[in-house]
């Protein structure tokens, strides 16, 4: 098969390097002498999937075990899919070019809802039955984890077991269980394995739960059907980032990938508390690495990869309490070797711009800020602790330092939004243009302000999980209105496809009932939905119609506060009471401070989980 693929298939596809698993630091193990075999599956193309840190971490941790191998597979691009189907070839792993069905487990990562059709397509290309109920003892276990697994219900019929939360430690428990089962008495019964898995903290096996509904389609209850499954599954969390394994021999792809640099994680979690933001809730508590750990990992990473850039990654790196010292040390050490340091995202304040000034060797890249909303009122509603003054200081600093191009991220369709808030977006953009002109003077000809507007999608486990999404028509009307307001030769206005956002919301807040629509959409040909050229809105509508799923029930409906939510049996540590308090505070425009700087907000995480806020360069204010 390997020969055939190399000689007959790869010469016929675009970017054949996507399908070759022999990059520097890739791991090739002896198949026959490794008892447990897993394949990490990313439901998007190679260059997207290889930019994902979670894959790097798990690949490294699993392959460091002698008894287990982990290979990789990505969604084949459509030309490759055609080749596979035409030649009757199954989807194969990159490292050893083996069919996915040969592995003990196929483990998907779920980074965004609109990759779900790719997950189904990959199972199909592998010849693996889509539904868990159709898979007998012969088939590999289908696992899934990642941020959108926090509402696992839309994928419940297709996935055997979900892992909620951080995988570094949990993956060992899962491997141990698979190994024991494989070495146990034959025949190996799938059900026995699932029973064992359900006993691991953080693992959710959907078939052990029964969902009942009210007549109106809302959920009556979700209860375990068996005694050994917990009534709520609590996410896994790593207590100490300094002691957990972090890959210092990551794969170095041959072809250019989206994030083509060293990704060095400096902290995990964010407690700024933006009310729309799922990452800000599910990755709590904030845990930082010690500067010494970062420096040591950085040194090994440069030595082992040869990359010329270290990106200090996290949800918000300028919040790292030791950021200045670490930046100075890294630049000092690597400046002369042509290795740069970069920060992935910036808060809209002058401190962040000062950091950017320090690290940016070249001023030609764009600086991006995310004020999210156009008026202070709405920023208070969403608890985005950024003021107009912060933003203006930040862009002033940027223009003074030589940047000529800034990007502003906004979200439209947020709860309570009015046209005044949209006017506010335009107003801010024009103020930034004006400031740029004043400062840049003769270079004002190069000034560019890019305004990007995404559409609000209510996400599970956030204070806005109950909020209705605007209808597609309303979103489009708002986009159109903004486009009219932002006509200016120095402003570029981008917006996301509102149709895509409305479907995203269905799978963000969907119950098990939406699974049928997903399966139907896939069968009708939907895949790569997040790629504009492949998104087929009318096909999705057809799928909803045929399966009797009303998308508006999930996206455009305000969920009632006493309703059982499809994901209520998943416990992130953040309590529903906290989310509800935050939801109510939003409507009274009350802000809630970051527990790193003010008092503990009693969100529940430090109270409920075996972890707590861990800052390395500042005192913990939260008395947890």
């Amino acid at each position: 098969m390997k020969q055939f693929i190399e000689n007959r298939v790869l010469p016929k596809v675009q970017k054949p390097a996507r399908y070759q698993g022999n990059e520097w630091n890739s791991v090739h193990k002896d198949w026959d002498n490794t008892p447990v075999r897993m394949v990490f599956a990313f439901p998007d193309v190679y260059e997207v999937g290889m930019s994902h840190l979670g894959l790097r971490i798990l690949y490294h941790i699993v392959n460091d075990r002698e008894d287990t191998l982990m290979e990789r597979v990505f969604a084949p691009w459509v030309d490759m899919e055609d080749q596979l189907r035409q030649h009757g070839l199954p989807l194969f792993s990159l490292e050893s070019v083996r069919p996915l069905a040969d592995f003990d487990a196929v483990a998907f990562t779920l980074q965004y809802e609109m990759s779900y059709t790719n997950l189904l397509n990959m199972l199909d290309l592998a010849g693996i039955p889509l539904r868990a109920a159709q898979r007998d003892d012969r088939w590999p276990l289908v696992l899934a984890g990642g941020p959108t697994a926090y509402n696992p219900e839309p994928l419940a019929p297709f996935v055997d077991a979900f892992l909620l939360g951080e995988g570094e430690e949990a993956v060992h428990d899962i491997i141990g269980t698979i190994k024991k089962w494989k070495q146990g008495p034959t025949p190996h019964k799938r059900r026995d394995l699932l029973q064992e898995l359900a006993g691991i903290s953080g693992v959710y096996v959907p078939e052990f739960y029964e969902v009942s509904y009210h007549n109106d389609g809302t959920i009556k209850k979700v209860v375990p059907k068996v005694s050994f499954a917990p009534s709520r599954v609590t996410k896994r969390v790593v207590r100490d980032l300094d002691r957990v394994d972090f890959p210092t021999r990551p794969i170095v792809p041959f072809m250019e990938i989206v994030h083509d640099r060293i990704m060095l994680e400096v902290l995990r979690g964010c407690s700024r508390g933006c009310r729309f933001c799922q990452a800000g809730m599910i990755y709590r508590p904030v845990r930082e690495k010690r500067p010494e750990t970062i420096i040591a990992q950085g040194e090994n990473l440069v030595k082992n990869t040869g990359y010329d850039e270290i990106s200090l990654t996290s949800l918000s790196t300028s919040d790292y309490s030791c950021v200045q010292g670490v930046l100075a040390l890294l630049m000092d050490r690597y400046g002369s070797e042509g290795v740069g340091v970069s920060l992935p995202s910036l808060r809209a304040d002058s401190f962040s711009v000062d950091l950017a000034k320090e690290v940016q060797r070249v001023r030609k890249t764009t600086l991006t800020f995310a004020p999210e909303a156009g008026t202070q009122r709405l920023r208070d509603v969403i608890n985005k602790g950024v003021t107009e003054e912060n933003l203006m200081e930040a862009v002033t600093g940027a223009f003074q330092a030589g940047w000529t191009s800034v990007k502003l991220y906004f979200m439209i369709g947020l709860p309570t939004e009015t046209y005044e808030d949209l006017d506010g977006i335009a107003g801010l953009a024009f103020k930034v243009v004006e400031r740029g002109r004043d400062i840049l003077g003769s270079r004002a000809g190069r000034l560019r302000v890019t305004v990007s507007a995404s559409s609000f999608v209510p996400k599970p486990h956030t204070p806005f999980q109950w909020a209705a999404q605007d209808s597609m028509e309303v979103l489009q009307e708002k986009q159109h209105y903004l486009a009219g307001k932002l006509k200016h030769r120095r402003i570029v206005f981008n917006w996301h496809d509102a149709r895509l956002s409305t479907i995203e919301a269905v799978f963000s807040r969907g119950s098990r009932k939406v699974a049928a629509a997903l399966e139907r959409a896939w069968a009708l040909g939907c895949k790569f939905d997040s790629w504009n050229e492949h998104f087929r809105y009318s096909t999705w509508q057809e799928a909803f119609r045929e399966t009797g799923v009303d998308p508006e029930f999930f996206n455009n409906r305000e969920f009632s506060l006493d309703e059982v939510l499809p994901w209520d049996h998943i416990n992130t540590g953040v309590t529903k009471e906290f989310l509800l308090t935050e939801y109510k505070r939003a409507f009274s425009e009350e802000t809630t401070a970051d527990c790193r700087h003010e008092k503990c907000t009693v969100c529940g995480v430090c109270q409920n989980l075996p972890a707590s806020v861990d800052l390395k360069g500042a005192k913990n204010n939260a008395p947890c």
Binding site: E6, N7, R8, L10, P11, K12, P16, A17, Q20, N22, E23, W24, V252, F254, M255, E256, V302, K303, N304, T305, G306, Y307, D308, E337, G338, V339, R361, V362, R363
Partner: protein, 244 residues
Amino acid sequence: MPRVRMEFSKGEEVRFLSHLDLVKAFERAIRRAAIPIAFSEGFNPHPKMNFASALAVGVTSDREYIDIELRESMAAGEVMARLCAALPAGIRLSGAMAVPDNSPALMAVVNRAEYRVKVPAVGSPDIGSLTGAIARFMDSSEVMIMKRTKKGIQPRNIRPGIIKFAGSVNGNTIEFSILTVTGSAGNVRPEEVVNAFAGCLGQEIDAGLAQINRIGLYTAAHGDRLLTPMEMDKTNQEGGDNFA
């Protein structure tokens, strides 16, 4: 600044790399090997390295060449030993030598490229008609192809750029041996030759499945003599360490 020239092969394992991928693979290997490469001046410094010729995606090669400039001197043998250990599987070094820093760039001196091309044929081709067709092909003074250029798709005569062209049959595979002009004086690619020839042969060839291997890159010297970049500078430099 000291300059080191190396000869390397691009094997099956890495045949699907683009030229840019290969450049990056070297850049990163050089950093892993802690070779003191020199950087260009300016805000965005680039490591100073030059290749003799770009190799297309899917094409393997027995002999390619790279020059790197060093910011402090290091023996060519040391550079080669370190780099060998840091290069991905499929890129193998076969020689290294110091070159004077005033010698011309590799790109400027290389003007011939030699290839072996294996093409699966439909049915079993016979050697007689193949030889005859090659003779007719080489007898003509004009081989027109349509070539994508900056000005759109333009007709171009590639015959003057084909120096040698031979073929043999091995089971269901036709094997071609091709010597073409490359570099600043024009560039004829082996798949262009095979595609153009397929028309003359009256035999179906799926040139998309051709396995192309570059045998070498040369400078045409007096008469028919071809010198590799490792030989060129030997002629004007005595001594110097040499690890070919």
